[in-house]
Symmetry: C3
Subunit: 129 residues, 3 copies
């Protein structure tokens, strides 16, 4: 069994930077071969996954466009090292987003909270940045 398993929960846009930093630190510390990690976004945080002009309006006031670009690049880098990125379909509907509008690396699940509970039952640790 892979020694480190974690589900990271993000439900506010403002928590994305620290969530990605946590995953990067974990990956650097234990190495890709020893980590199974996924990030589950629900609530308004799912808008991060939609690379649309409207997304910028949902940014925290202190994010510039350049910051968002860097975060998206960091997410792609983590994804290329096997970190999974998941969106809650309920949250997409509540935020008037269609799965087709999301970045291709994102997987959609019917309910993000079920995914978070299921992963913990499978032995994943939970981190809420």
């Amino acid at each position: 069994m892979v020694p480190y398993r974690v589900v990271v929960h993000v439900d506010e846009m403002a928590c994305w930077p620290v969530a990605l930093t946590n995953l990067r630190n974990l990956l650097n510390d234990v190495g890709q071969d020893h980590l199974q990690a996924e990030l589950v976004a629900n609530g308004p945080a799912v808008a991060f996954y939609a690379d649309l002009p409207e997304t910028a309006e949902k940014f925290p006031p202190n994010w510039q466009e350049g910051v968002y670009r860097e975060l998206i690049e960091e997410m792609s880098g983590l994804h290329s090292q096997n970190v999974r990125f998941i969106a809650c379909a309920n949250a997409l509907r509540a935020n008037h987003l269609d799965p087709a509008q999301l970045l291709p690396l994102v997987q959609v699940v019917p309910a993000g909270v079920t995914e978070i509970v299921r992963k913990q039952h499978e032995g994943y640790a939970y981190v809420k940045p």
Copy 2:
């Protein structure tokens, strides 16, 4: 064993709406027969359980009275589907509330944090909205 078991932790008033939405989404997704869920409130969030005029003063600024009524109804609906709602006695004291002032569906435990730890030791997942 019931397949999905979760303790949801709420310690700020502003987190009640998303916590109730998480529980509703989970219930709709897995069904009442497959879920054992409880919400543990501590800190200032326990005031939500006290249906008193003073509670309104502790609302986040963007909640109207009508919003609070709808949330209380949603809590009652979840409770009728076997979701348990728990208050921390330490938090009640710190917020000058008496257990007798709480809605009848609420159970009081000596320390909310102990309940949260115990449930995880019993195999419940933890979600902090």
Copy 3:
């Protein structure tokens, strides 16, 4: 095995008071002999551990110097009852702090998030105040 085991996660300065209160309530409720507890600080919250004039500038606006002193005393009291206090080395670097600047009771780990995941894999519950 000790019946109650918990890792408490603090990543924002503003969450220190409630985190220490949670640990105090847990200790009072279950007793020192039945508790293995540690607090892991990462992100800007690590500055709490550095007893420096600059730390005061990172306080939430509603903290007075006296409040900080009381919290440090409470942390020392908990530490004398075997609660461990841990800092993330990545967060120290990001906040321009050296391990030598921290209060002596603090242990430093390479990555706070790894510690949080590892403890959960060892059977510790997770609480995010």
